[in-house]
Amino acid sequence: MTAIAKPDSSREAPAWRKSLANALLVTEREVKDSFRDWRILAPIIILTFLFPFLAQFVAGQFTDFVSNYGAEIIGERTIPFLLMIVGFFPISISLVIALETFVGEKERRSLEPLLSTPLTNTELYIGKTLAAMIPPLVSSYGGMAVYLGSLVLGDLAWRPQPMLVLQIILLTTVQALVMVTGAVVVSSQTTSTRAANLLASFIIIPMTLVIQGESAIMFLAPDADSPDGIGSLWAIIFGMMVVVGLLLRVGNSIFNREELLGRMIDGFNLKQIAAGIWRHIRWGDLRSTERVDAVAWYREGVAGSLRRLGLASHVTVLVVLVSILAGIYAGLQPQYQLGLPRDIGMMEVTTNLDMASRFFFGEQPVVMSILVQNWRVLAGATILAVFTFGIGALLLTPIVYVLLGYLLTQVIAAGYSPLLFVPAVLTHGIVEIPVILLATAAALKLGAVVTRPPANMTVGQAWTQTLGDTIRLWMGLILPGLVVAAVIEANITPLVVRAVLGGG
């Protein structure tokens, strides 16, 4: 037989080119394989070459029908809406191909030989993602081209807004990306196509809602005929691109050899998971596990959880600063200014503050009302963060800081000293603001950890550890901090404000 081969590194291409070539190698094989499957090929042909003519026929009939009742505008707007549908139907196949190419291969046990090759996890992931997208997208673009051609050249002689067509093409592409990247996440959590199909409803249902929303926008948007395209569709495209970016990151961290081969059954042992989280809350980071005293728990355990917040805490501080600046910027815009009266008496201010307080916290601004209010916001941000890869945490809590920045400018614009703010905000804020920052950072970390788990940890392990950290921070710092802040806010802040403003 031939002499032994050694890996050759003497004439290597640049790393990115080599990686791209490797990814495309996987794509090429899988696309070829897809086109050999009649179950994929038949719908692609039908949706590319037959369905667009059906859509064009429907568009013609519908336009004629509604014009009889003087509703030509509905007919006109049905035409681009059907363009979107013609584009969407083929990309729905991408979900099927993605599930097949990821979990299907796992189920057929043909994944392991592939994982034994020198191809990296990222190369395999990109290759397979492209393979799941290319056939449906080709069909989708082809179908849209056929539909547009039939409209432009046919009886309707419709002249599309180029920007709207571009928007529909972009929407189709990002929708395909969302479905494929979502399917990778789903596939990695299962070992059978049956289970993956069940979990795929988490992709199908939100996507259906998005399509319904887009349809409504296309019919109802006031700028539907604008040459710049529909504003809200741009927002959807941008939002979905953010989702794609996050799903790509999650997929890239989940699609690795360890996760793919480590999970052999679709088991879910809630008791074991809960026990693991509790163990981490109680013993994690502690040098001695024989006896836990509160000092050691804070000094080693809570400190360990704080250290792991790392980048999340920096991002949170940055976002809060940007939020305050955004509030100040908005407050400086003439069209948004409140125009507070300049000659308002101090008594009136304190009375208004009391009214505002009663509005937010009920008749008696007691500690519990403030505590529940703050807890509700921070717990809501944490739950939202879990489902939004952490973004939710950065949307909900910074709103307070936007308002703070805005009100500051209004007070200054009315001719008052900015120092008026100090007693009202900083008296309890000295405790509350760090607690809010901490809770926001913890929520961000909890949501975002799945997009990049620490080295040597699976996504599941990283998430359960971060959940343990989050609970520990809530138990050790956030809840006690909120209680202290609420006590100060209810009992001391009003006194300080009255003293400073001279309201007695």
Partner: protein, 315 residues
């Protein structure tokens, strides 16, 4: 070569591989034996840099399985437990794909694929879709894939399962031929006859731990004791057992045969033959009573199970 030191793999709470240490020199075959679920596949996956060890280290073909994972995978040919072929592909396409994945130039891909397909008698099926292949053909093609990039280390999981005897012989011959190139083999198998024939070293794994390792002779000696010889004579023994008791330990006898255990047969047997001849007894045959790997394996497994029961009851 393959070197592993205290290789351990823990899945959540489950200890799949427990401090496995191995050393396989170039030009030798190690057979990793053990019951289903013993940790063989997980060990192989760690040695091929598919799974990262929880602790311990391993070097394969000179590369660290964690630090140089891609180089390890490039230097290893793997036959996985399930052959996992792409059923809609033709053999040529399939091998071309894997050749490209291993970075082989076009010409080399073609030449190697054709040579190996011929070596395993599959040339006639080059253009057939893999879905049409028989079980044995699929297994052979998977072996071709593992050998395609000419790796210095081959890790083969059940290399001859599902093969007819002729095909299995072909595979064993190919392994023996490749050993001449100083290649290193690690084979996991339930076929103990095959393991005994091919392996220079044997490691037996149970519940993630290596419970015995060494050459077959070493294991047999350690577990079953010294080799047993059977002497058959023409006529009756006539008290021969007493006459040779100072040389060997007699284990049993019949009218015209006896069995004895001997530490160094190459030294003792010639002397014994001379003495029997001097006593005027005609020797018909003198042959070793064969000890099979199966005997050794079963004994080792039984002993480990007994130890475990004793340990559990002690606790």
């Amino acid at each position: 070569m393959i070197e592993a030191h205290e290789l351990t793999k823990v899945y959540d709470q489950f200890l799949a591989v427990d401090r496995v240490s191995l050393s396989v020199q170039p030009g030798t075959v190690l057979a990793l034996l053990g019951p289903n679920g013993a940790g063989k596949t997980t060990s192989v996956r760690m040695l091929t840099s598919i799974l990262a060890p929880t602790s311990g280290w391993a070097r394969v073909a000179g590369y660290d399985v964690v630090q140089d994972a891609e180089k390890v995978r490039a230097s290893v040919g793997v036959l996985t437990e399930q052959h996992g072929l792409y059923e809609r592909s033709k053999a040529v396409e399939y091998l071309d794909f894997f050749g490209r994945a291993y970075g082989l130039p076009k010409q080399a891909r073609r030449t190697r694929a054709l040579a190996l397909m011929e070596r395993f008698g599959l040339t006639f099926a080059l253009d057939k879709r893999l879905g049409e292949y028989s079980k044995g053909m699929k297994q052979k093609l998977a072996l071709v894939r593992a050998m395609l990039h000419n790796p210095p280390v081959l890790l083969l999981d059940e290399p001859t399962s599902a093969m007819d005897p002729q095909s299995a012989r072909q595979v064993r011959d190919a392994i023996i031929e490749l050993l001449g190139d100083e290649r290193t083999f690690l084979i996991t198998t339930h076929n103990l006859t095959e393991a005994q024939e091919l392996a220079h070293q044997i490691a037996i794994i149970r519940r993630g731990r290596i419970i015995a390792s060494g050459t077959f002779d070493e294991l047999a000696r350690r577990i079953v004791g010294d080799p047993v010889m059977e002497l058959r004579v023409n006529g009756v023994l006539n008290g021969l057992a007493k006459d040779i008791a100072d040389m060997v330990q007699v284990e049993g006898q019949g009218e015209s045969w006896l069995r004895y255990r001997v530490r160094e047969p190459q030294v003792t047997n010639p002397a014994l033959i001379r003495r029997v001849a001097d006593l005027g007894i005609d020797i018909v045959t003198l042959a070793p009573v064969s000890q099979t790997l199966e005997d050794v394996y079963l004994q080792i497994m039984q002993e480990d199970e007994s130890k475990e029961v004793a340990h559990d009851s002690h606790r």
